[in-house]
């Protein structure tokens, strides 16, 4: 609001009054990204079309926006998230783990943890939900052209890795070697198990799978992700490492990557925080002056090092 002061104000007042903080632009700009139009609190009605049980506590759901036109025009970038509403229970945030080229549906994988995720697990095809998407920033895949990618997914952290991996593979020609290291506690804890054979067979992808403990019939690696990573020794030269998973896995995997010589700006990860508004206002998801819901969820390790340690 503009302020107007009387020209006859005394010095004392003009000093204080003539300088209200009228500069009301935010001091840092957000990276360009697709954004949800209209009321950012209003979910788009959507129908659940498919539920895929993944593990004992993970289910994948595919949803289609009720409005055909909005479904057709829906645009997002890999790494962006959505808030799923189960009306009467609430909302929770998940990465859209289908690649942007998938126009028929939006896919989310949900680990049962709280009230909303429990309600999502009870959904069946045909049920109505709300979707607020796309929210947040995305993986800077355009900046990675010409580089090799080493993707690391731990447990449910494979969801964001899935979307960026499928996206990169669609334009393999623009990138160097693309590798995947996917680990979970046991084979029973691996989401997307039905896709893993195809990933292994894909000539454009160098996939490695690992579990924490030996397991009957498991023919892949056994060991913790950071240790397997040290064994695989990816070359940090012209390579970006992307890792998603539980905080403890991130911590030790980053240590391993640093040991291998990856600089912090070549390590990319996603953060999870409790969110409500998803649009940078409600004050829940901040780390220092940055809000995970709008300044993230994708950060380089370098960016995280510059933020206060409050993860």
């Amino acid at each position: 609001m503009a302020s107007k002061t009387s020209s006859s104000s005394t010095d004392l007042q003009t000093r204080q009054i003539s300088k209200p903080a009228t500069d009301i632009s935010m001091r840092h700009t957000l990276s360009p990204r697709p954004m949800m139009p209209g009321n950012p609190y209003l979910p788009m009605p959507a129908t659940v079309t498919e539920i895929i049980p993944e593990t004992a506590n993970i289910k994948t759901l595919r949803v289609v926006l009720e409005d055909d036109e909005r479904m057709r025009d829906f645009k997002f970038q890999p790494g962006q998230v959505g808030q799923i509403s189960v009306f009467g229970v609430g909302e929770a945030t998940f990465v859209i783990n289908s690649p942007p080229s998938q126009k028929a549906y939006l896919q989310f994988s949900v680990m049962r943890a709280g009230e909303v995720t429990a309600a999502i697990h009870k959904l069946s095809p045909g049920d109505k939900v709300g979707v607020r998407a796309p929210l947040g920033n995305h993986f800077p895949w355009q900046e990675w052209k010409g580089k090799s990618l080493f993707l690391v997914g731990g447990g449910i952290g494979m969801a964001p890795i899935r979307t960026i991996m499928l996206h990169l593979l669609e334009q393999k020609g623009d990138y160097g070697k693309i590798s995947l290291l996917y680990g979970a506690r046991s084979p029973r804890d691996m989401a997307y198990a039905y896709e893993m054979p195809a990933w292994l067979d894909n000539p454009d992808l160098d996939a490695t799978f690992c579990i924490d403990q030996p397991f009957d019939g498991w023919s892949h690696k056994v060991g913790l992700i950071p240790n397997i990573l040290l064994e695989l020794k990816p070359n940090p030269q012209n390579c970006v490492a992307v890792l998603c998973g539980p905080p403890i896995m991130i911590k030790f995997t980053v240590q391993a990557l640093e040991k291998l010589g990856f600089p912090p700006e070549s390590i990319v990860t996603t953060l999870e925080k409790r969110m409500k508004c998803g649009i940078g206002i409600c004050g829940r998801c901040n780390i220092g002056g940055r809000y995970v819901c709008v300044d993230g969820p994708v950060f380089t390790w370098k960016q995280l090092q510059e933020l206060p340690p409050e993860i």
Partner: protein
Amino acid sequence: MSTIRFVTGDGLPAFLTFLARNGRRVLVPVEKPAVKSSTVFETWSEGKPFSLQKATVPAKSAVLPQCETLIRYKKSKNPDNPSEVSLNLDDTPEATPTVVFACRPCDARGYAVLDRPFLHGPYADPYYRARREALTVITLTCSKGCDTCFCHWTGGGPSSPEGSDVLMTAVDDGYVLQAITTAGKELLNASSLPDGAERFPLAEEARKRAWASLAPAPDLKDVPQKVASRFSDMPFWLHWTERCLSCGACTYFCPTCYCFTITDEGEAMSARGGRRLRSWDNCMSALFTREASGHNPRLSKAQRMRNRVSHKYATYPENWGTFSCSGCGRCIGNCPVGLDIREIVLACVRHSSDIAQETQER
């Protein structure tokens, strides 16, 4: 020369009647006698006694109600094919044209603090916008500071116009009303109040006396950096929150706190439906950042105090170039254990060697 009008003390009810025309809601401070008496904003109606005291609770709810409906949801059936159900979502904002009458400059500056994230961030909040656009703020300038007031530390003062449409200043025989914004000017022009230009020098004198009653403010220029650099000094925050009860009184009474939560009330897929609500939340509560996994980035009250003080004095300034504290002092006056944000901010500024000594003395 801005529009200046004059009203006598006896003329105030008639002025309020004018303000309340056309269904406008006029919020006035009303005294509530009780064991601990308080002054709260209530909707004025003809004959209702009102007060010109500084309100116990600021009129923040005029733009951000303690609880409001964001969305009404219900199931609707296709009349031609009743087996086909769809979701019906109604997001119409509720905004009654409102005048806040006789808030103080620190309260009005609260609106300016809220405007930035709610209107000028990456997303504009349509509910806030609807209320804010329907709001006119008539602010009573303060005649003197009290011992918890520190508006002048934070860029304001007893006659700061920021966030106000009209400034009202007490003079011997009444009140001088000065339009600050176009909305304020239009409002005063529409009233039948007489011109007050000749009394304006008296109002200026009164404002000057109010300024003079304040103790000089410390220099807070480097405070954002100083507070930010305290982030990892956990003993510091532990020391300053030892007594804190995490009750949230400080956030409840604050004109600039705006953390909120969103919750659903009522079955969705029923014909009656339900509502998605937004309510004030409290960053001093342990549950505020608790994640479904049980992980909590601000588990201790020291971490939460650090976040509250940092938001007001380091991170909001980092994002918006100004403090998100208007120095009203309500968090100080209402804290059951007497914690004083001024002391914490000043302690952040003090040289680290003093702190080392303090720690030893503890």
